[in-house]
């Protein structure tokens, strides 16, 4: 969509509806922040205090919720609440780690491709297309399995797979910005390329990019859960939500909390992040407003 279209399209689209739309957007953002905030708080608290030690198997096995184990115990007698709290830490680390890794590599590669000569650009974008066609989860499985499976190997795998997607998006956005007149104007008035990148390119691509990174955060959390479920994530005693689900699967009737709670927390975190992305998209990028 061209800029002209968006500018002309905006007034007739919004008009009287502006107020409710803004309200609903800020509601989206607020709910998202609350959901993610809860998980973040739990994760931070788990750094200083958990009800029981994570390796503490002194409890009876598969206890129902009650005292002293508020949410019961798992099949080894470990406290479920403790495991869930540590799981929050791992899920956030997986999401944040992958996004930082994928974001840094992806944005750098995308910027390079966006500035490159046509020939180099063709090569890079063809490479990116191939990397994207390479199934993310399979790539992650590969990295996670050839190393000893750990949280780091999962993050590296997911982050690398993500970097191709981020790079492709960055490249398109950079090309679009570089074609604008104000870049020519800036260059003509003597600004160096590095400064153009910092002052014009990055601020202009950041809104779209950050929304995408937020969505990628959610996908990374899901991918890490899948990897752990398949036994390719953080090893015990680190309680990843995915592995907790896998371990609790057999005892769903005796201890249903073990199957329900980790899944609900994954959903809460991912929905929260997605809502923040949706809300932020409309705040940061008015040209997309009419799509929603």
């Amino acid at each position: 969509m061209s800029v002209e279209q968006a500018v002309v399209g905006a007034p007739e689209e919004d008009g009287a509806k502006t107020t409710p739309r803004h309200v609903s957007r800020s509601v989206t953002l607020t709910i998202g922040c609350v959901l993610v905030g809860v998980i973040v708080i739990v994760a931070v608290v788990s750094l200083f205090w958990v009800p029981f030690a994570p390796e503490d198997t002194s409890g009876r096995r598969l206890m129902p919720p009650g005292l002293p184990h508020l949410l019961g115990t798992d099949k080894l007698g470990r406290d479920l609440l403790t495991q869930l709290m540590i799981g929050a830490r791992i899920a956030l680390a997986a999401g944040a780690g992958s996004v930082v890794l994928g974001g840094v590599i992806g944005i750098a590669a995308g910027l390079a491709a966006g500035f490159a000569t046509r020939w180099l650009d063709d090569v890079v974008s063809a490479l990116l297309d191939i990397l994207i066609a390479f199934p993310t989860l399979l790539l992650a499985m590969l990295v996670a399995a050839t190393q000893a499976a750990s949280l780091t190997s999962a993050i590296v795998a997911i982050g690398l797979a993500m970097s191709a997607i981020v790079a492709r998006l960055t490249r398109v956005l950079v090309k679009r910005v570089l074609a604008q007149d104000f870049i020519t104007a800036s260059r003509t008035s003597g600004t160096s390329w590095p400064r153009v990148v910092i002052e014009h390119v990055l601020p202009n691509i950041w809104p779209t990019l950050s929304v995408n990174l937020a969505l990628q955060f959610g996908l990374a959390v899901l991918a890490e859960a899948s990897l752990s479920y398949l036994g390719l994530g953080a090893p015990p005693p680190n309680a990843s939500w995915g592995r907790m689900l896998q371990e609790a699967q057999a005892s769903v009737f005796i201890a249903p909390v073990g199957v329900i709670a980790p899944g609900v927390l994954i959903v809460v975190l991912v929905i929260g992040v997605n809502l923040i992305a949706d809300g932020f998209r409309d705040v940061a990028d008015p040209t997309r407003r009419r799509r929603r």
């Binding site: 399209g9 689209e13 063809a126 490479l127 297309d129 191939i130 990397l131 066609a133 390479f134 199934p135 993310t136 989860l137 399979l138 790539l139 499985m141 590969l142 990295v143 399995a145 050839t146 190393q147 959610g218 899901l222 859960a225 899948s226 479920y229 398949l230 036994g231 390719l232 995915g242 689900l245 699967q249 769903v252 009737f253 199957v259 899944g263 994954i266 959903v267 991912v270 929905i271 997605n274 809502l275 009419r290 799509r291 929603r292």
Partner: protein, 321 residues
């Protein structure tokens, strides 16, 4: 069109070659010695050397790569380190489960998502339009294996109407039995897939509903149905087709994970086992076949898109890739 077809085919072939190279290098560069998978713990250095020689990992990397490419060219995926059976036929038997699972889930997802996405856009300002969007928002946040676990709990363990996992020994000899074992896995994958598809259909429909040409057509006296049929549908279908290609590919990958939940003897189960045993030919073979599938799906989706949208055949050829 011919020129495009040639270029796109060349791109497909180059992609495959590069994918093969990436795969090969990744597997070799990452730590872990495949020879260990042949040996028991405490093997002597001589034994390790012999095992390396037996599977050919003592040869220089380029030589190994070229010989692997040569094998690929003749559709030979090598032999498993562990079982010493050829990998190609094994993958073929596994696809008997994975391909129907993928296609059935995909069809179900599309059948559900297209009408729901359309209604969600058309009735975007009503309460049930919002509910539909909310449900799809929920759907994209749910881990696919968890959906499978919950469905097993409800339909297999509580209601006991469908099997919790497994697949008939004689594959499709009894289609009814095979379909019964695939029912829950198909629903699992389709539920998660349709959630993201609904969002794309909704977004494409919203674009069309807000378009000038639809308003013009309505102003000229067409009924809503006629304007949608003559103008809206063609425009909405283009972005959806390109997404369908990606969705089909991720349905395939979703199937790989879900197979583990339902203990289905498909490609996913084979891959997880191969990974655990560091069985390089098996891992390589499965990843290569998966990448091939994904690339071919992308190829077909691009062609279909160009056939449907004449605009792509002209000025935008470069971006269409």
């Amino acid at each position: 069109m011919t020129a495009y077809l040639l270029r796109r085919t060349a791109f497909l072939v180059v992609s495959l070659l590069l994918a093969a190279a990436v795969l090969f290098l990744l597997l070799r560069l990452l730590p872990g010695d495949p020879a260990n998978s042949l040996l028991s713990v405490g093997a002597t250095p001589d034994q390790i050397e012999a095992a390396r020689h037996q599977i050919g990992t003592d040869r220089p990397l380029p030589e190994q790569f070229v010989s692997w490419l040569g094998q690929l060219a003749t559709f030979d995926l090598g032999e498993s380190f562990v079982s010493t059976l050829p990998v190609g036929p094994e993958i073929a038997t596994r696809l008997v489960v994975t391909v129907p699972l993928t296609l059935l889930s995909f069809v179900l997802a599309v059948v559900v998502a297209v009408p729901v996405g359309f209604v969600a856009a058309h009735k975007a300002n009503t309460w049930y339009g919002s509910i539909l969007s909310g449900v799809s928002q929920l759907g994209i946040a749910v881990p696919v294996f968890w959906v499978g676990m919950l469905l097993i709990t409800v339909f297999s363990l509580s209601l006991r109407v469908l099997p919790a996992g497994g697949f008939p020994q004689d594959d499709w000899a009894d289609p009814a039995k095979a379909l019964t074992s695939l029912t829950l896995p198909v629903i699992t994958v389709a539920l998660v897939m349709s959630a993201s598809l609904i969002r794309y259909v909704r977004s494409a429909t919203l674009d069309v509903l807000g378009s000038d040409y639809l308003r013009t057509s309505r102003a000229l006296g067409s009924s809503f149905a006629r304007a949608m049929w003559r103008h809206g549908l063609r425009n909405a279908v283009v972005p959806v087709i390109s997404i369908l290609g990606i969705e089909l590919a991720s349905t395939f990958l979703g199937a790989v994970v879900v197979e583990s939940v339902f203990a289905l003897p498909g490609l996913g189960g084979m891959l997880v086992k191969g990974l655990a045993q560091h069985d390089y030919p098996v891992i390589q073979g499965i990843l290569f076949v998966s990448t091939l599938v994904v690339l071919v799906i992308g190829f077909v989706a691009d062609l279909v898109q160009r056939l449907i949208d004449p605009r792509l055949r002209h000025s935008l050829a470069r971006d269409a890739r």
